[in-house]
Amino acid sequence: MLADDEPDIVAIARIALETVGGYEVAVCASGNELLQRAPDFDPDLIIVDVLMPDLGGHEVFEQLRSLPEFKDTPIVFLTGLIHEDELDVLQSYGAADIILKPFDPMTLADRVAGIWESLNDQ
């Protein structure tokens, strides 16, 4: 499941994850939409953009974690990195990974597969 307010980014990520990775992807244009739809879609992994107008990635993260069904779902931040120390801040949330924008669509699915593997290993 993926949320980003930038339609093109959503399109790129969805196509990359579907064609190369073979994943089933639900896309949302905002943090609120993701929170609404997540229980029905029941994602195995959530990718959320950090800078969104309605609800930032941090808030989405915290709200998801407060729900029992998403207590352990791996969440990955997607960010265009605005500040130098942003990585540290994001890291402190304990996300499964952080993907920087721009990303390489060709390797995005591999990247997600890698996150999965390392989570399963732990």
Binding site: I15, T19, L51, I82, D88, Q91, P102, M106, S118, D121
Partner: protein
């Protein structure tokens, strides 16, 4: 939709879809820029408000990510400049001055102009890139680095930086997690953070644990908060191959990993010159049993040919041979500039130490009494060979980049041309140049420029085969010799490197920038001599620059 029989099908499919998105993106870009312009305009003349400015920032920020992900590198870069300016205004809570008004309009216009350049580069790159090996294969070839670290920023930053250089990182919270992990393949190195919240992990125990669980001979690198000599000594005693104090210098880590993971280029080559066939055979067998490579020459005058062909690391010469003494032969060898540094060891049945020393004269490096016991011979010769290689490295390599120096790379090219000629083999030559390197030096200083060169050198060494010869040709120009390689394959390889290098972020301390490269490739026997090959590659490089940089041009064929 996904064809299991063809591993490239999903990649091709994705490329097609991306192409559609690119077309859509560039169609919509002028309208988007107009909107940004209007938004900015509405913030002028007393209209400045933080919410409006934040919304504008978000739009620009979105553009950076989208453009970059679709391959519009210049658009992304130009938008990043606008973002920085907006952030500056937001942070200082200042109302923009009139001059900044013009600046922003100018910058927005430059984004529109950049799209053309990007489209050209994409059109050139996409055809070649669709035929490339599937991404999965590239990943398989990557060196796997296991990182054991409790808290992530270091590991994440490292993964970002190292990803561009062909390393893949797997991260684990602690050593116990490593013990249970299935890496899929043998890690090339393990990095352990010794500083955990509870204190410091003992280096010896950590190293032992890694050896027991991951593998006996896997190199271990430590990261720690402690910079005192005791901690470092402990790490050395634990057999670690690198020790870094936090905050970690990433290029240092990169350098160490690069050294640790590079396959040993080849076994030491020992040339044995002895007219006594049986003794020569005995020495040769002793050395080969230990994994060294040997060539025996029974006739002293045949040595010259082998020097060039075999390129020995150490030469063993019998002191007493008919027709030419060992010392005479050593003098002849030393007259060749290329062999001044090769260790020469004399062999003889002479047991008198004083006579041995006298025999060494000015040309020999050591003296063995034959027959030399195998163990002694192997260890003495290996030590000489290793020192010789290290010395040669300093003599032949450029101090900054570790690449071959100008004269050495030309010499290697000439050897490769002779080989290709003799064996009717293929040979490609690439001339590579950093785009706008002068501007990098001017804007960020020469130290930063040096860092860019170093990064390029690392990337090249990572991505090229051991048999490829890599040298610094001049300022920021690199010359690469690809033996047994067609120009098509070399172009493909260089395009891969070009793309990867463009993705590297060079850290300036208060921001970062990226740099592209241009490249020209020539081929034997279209060009017959080393001189012609270099000239043709240079001409192709010139074409690449003229066509807008950030591309690889195949000499005589255009892009």
């Amino acid at each position: 939709m996904i064809n299991d029989n063809d591993p490239r099908a999903p990649v091709d499919q994705l490329e097609k879809e991306l192409q559609k998105l690119r077309v859509r993106f560039s169609d919509k870009l002028p309208g988007r820029l107009r909107e940004l312009s209007e938004e900015w305009e509405s913030l002028q003349g007393g209209g400045w408000n933080e919410d409006g400015a934040r919304a504008l920032h978000r739009s620009v920020h979105g553009l950076i990510g989208t453009a970059g992900s679709l391959g519009f590198a210049q658009v992304s870069k130009s938008a990043r400049v606008v973002e920085r300016l907006l952030l500056g205004l937001l942070e200082s809570a200042a109302v923009p001055a009139a001059a900044q008004n013009d600046e922003v309009h100018g910058l927005l216009a430059s984004i529109g102009e950049a799209v053309e350049e990007d489209e050209k580069a994409l059109a050139e790159g996409s055809a070649a890139e669709i035929q490339r090996v599937p991404a999965a294969q590239i990943f398989e070839a990557r060196n796997l680095i296991v990182v054991v670290e409790r808290e992530g920023p270091f590991a994440h930053e490292l993964a970002l930086q190292l990803g561009h250089f062909g390393f893949e990182l797997q991260m684990y919270q602690n050593l116990d997690a490593v013990a249970e992990a299935d890496f899929g393949r043998r890690p090339a190195a393990v990095i352990v953070d010794l500083s955990v919240p509870e204190g410091e992990v003992a280096a010896v125990e950590a190293a032992q644990f890694v050896r027991n669980t991951v593998g006996e001979d896997v190199p271990v690198v430590f990261v720690s908060n402690r910079s005192d000599i005791e901690a470092r000594l402990d790490a050395v005693r634990a057999g670690c191959r690198g020790y870094f104090v936090k905050p970690v210098n990433y290029s240092g880590v990169l350098e160490t990993l690069d050294r640790l993971t590079r396959c040993e280029p080849d076994p030491y080559r020992i040339l044995i010159v002895d007219d006594e066939t049986e003794t020569a055979e005995f020495h040769s067998l002793s050395l080969e049993a230990a994994g060294l490579e040997t060539v025996i020459v029974n006739e002293p005058l045949d040595v010259t040919a082998q020097l060039v062909e075999f390129h020995p690391d150490v030469i063993l010469i019998d002191l007493y041979m008919p027709g030419c003494s060992g010392q005479e032969l050593a003098k002849v060898i030393r007259q060749e500039e290329a062999f001044v540094g090769v260790p020469i060891v004399f062999l003889s049945r002479e047991t008198d130490r004083m006579k041995q020393i006298a025999a060494l004269g000015e040309t020999g490096d050591d003296f063995f009494t034959k027959p030399v016991p195998p163990d002694e011979l192997v260890s003495a010769v290996s030590a000489r060979a290793q020192r010789g290689r290290t010395l040669r490295l300093f003599m032949e390599r450029d101090g900054l980049t570790g690449l071959f120096s100008h004269s050495r790379v030309i010499e290697q090219l000439e050897i490769a041309v002779r080989r290709a000629d003799r064996h009717h083999g293929s040979l490609a030559v690439a001339m590579l140049d950093i785009d706008g390197f002068k501007e990098v030096n001017d804007s960020y200083g020469h130290l930063q420029g040096d860092q860019v060169l170093k990064a390029l050198a690392y990337l090249l060494r990572q991505r090229l085969r051991i048999s490829d010869v890599l040298g610094r040709y001049g300022g920021d120009e690199c010359l690469i010799v690809f033996p047994e390689t067609t120009a098509e394959a070399a172009v493909e390889k260089m395009n891969d490197i070009r793309r990867n290098f463009a993705a590297v972020e060079h850290d300036t301390g208060d921001g970062s920038f990226s740099v592209t490269v241009s490249c020209g490739v020539s081929e034997f026997p279209q060009a017959l001599t080393s001189h012609e090959l270099i000239a043709a590659a240079d001409e192709a490089l010139y074409q690449a620059k003229n066509a807008g940089r950030n591309r690889v041009v195949h000499a005589g064929r255009g892009e």
